[in-house]
Point group: C2
Chain length 160, copies 2
């Protein structure tokens, strides 16, 4: 290796090290954001497959968790009430899929919240096609390295 | 003071100290809960008086704050959009007052979220009386010892 190449290699190495050092805090934040994004993706997958067992794994099972669905008459507090609300939700569909806008994710220490618009398409148990949009707020809490759902609030877009 | 009184006094003092020590974490949590409850009270007061200046003081002014109102067609992200949405909301009323159910408050480190049902009563600018209920999720962030609003999601109760 010629001297000039060695110097270039050393300079490139230093540049790479400095870049990595500069990116480290951002990378930690990005990593949390990516994990939260993946948790929301898993939530949509569990919802689309109407799989209560998969949904159970994604939530914290505490008395403090809460859900408000577009059809809710009241907010549901505590894991048992939240779990039941998903069973009721899943019973409203014969099949359903969710697409979502780019989520707006905020991570602050061990808590993350995610705002997005979700579009549901599918069929009612009677075969009737359905499609509707709702705006959602999800709150997740990092527990033992995993991001668990602790709140879901979704509301239908009102007719203009 | 007799010896037995001194011993009783010392025992009482020790009991008081132990009790205070045992209560300290709960007291800190309660204090945070009380401050969050007061912040939500101030939010309702600012809303009821349709006072955008008072509302400004209660919110973090960042690009990450978000609001979804019962009439929103989309989620509003960033302080300018959120502020504008309150000006639009306030213009929907000639007068309005808010009563709320006992809020369900969760505090986790520097983040708190609050779920409640709010009932609005008042008059439209045309004089028409109005009353409706909505379920709300509010997220607050502790900044410099103050709890500031960072997200408000309210949605109307659907007709059964």
């Amino acid at each position: 290796m010629k001297n000039v190449d060695r110097r270039s290699a050393a300079a490139l190495g230093l540049l790479a090290a400095l870049t990595l050092a500069a990116l480290r805090p951002a990378a930690a934040q990005t990593s949390d954001e990516e994990t939260v994004r993946a948790a929301i993706g898993a939530y949509h997958a569990a919802f689309s497959s109407r799989d209560i067992k998969a949904m159970e794994v994604l939530w914290a099972h505490t008395a403090a968790v809460a859900a408000i669905h577009p059809f809710s008459q009241t907010s549901l507090v505590g894991w048992q009430a939240v779990r039941r609300s998903y069973e009721e939700t899943f019973a409203r569909f014969a099949d359903v899929s969710i697409s979502t806008t780019e989520p707006h994710i905020t991570v602050h220490q061990g808590i993350a919240w995610v705002v997005a618009t979700e579009t549901l398409r599918g069929h009612r148990p009677g075969g009737e096609a359905m499609a509707n949009s709702s705006m959602s707020t999800n709150i997740l809490e990092k527990q033992g390295g995993r991001w668990l759902m602790v709140l879901h609030h979704a509301s239908g877009t009102p007719r203009p």
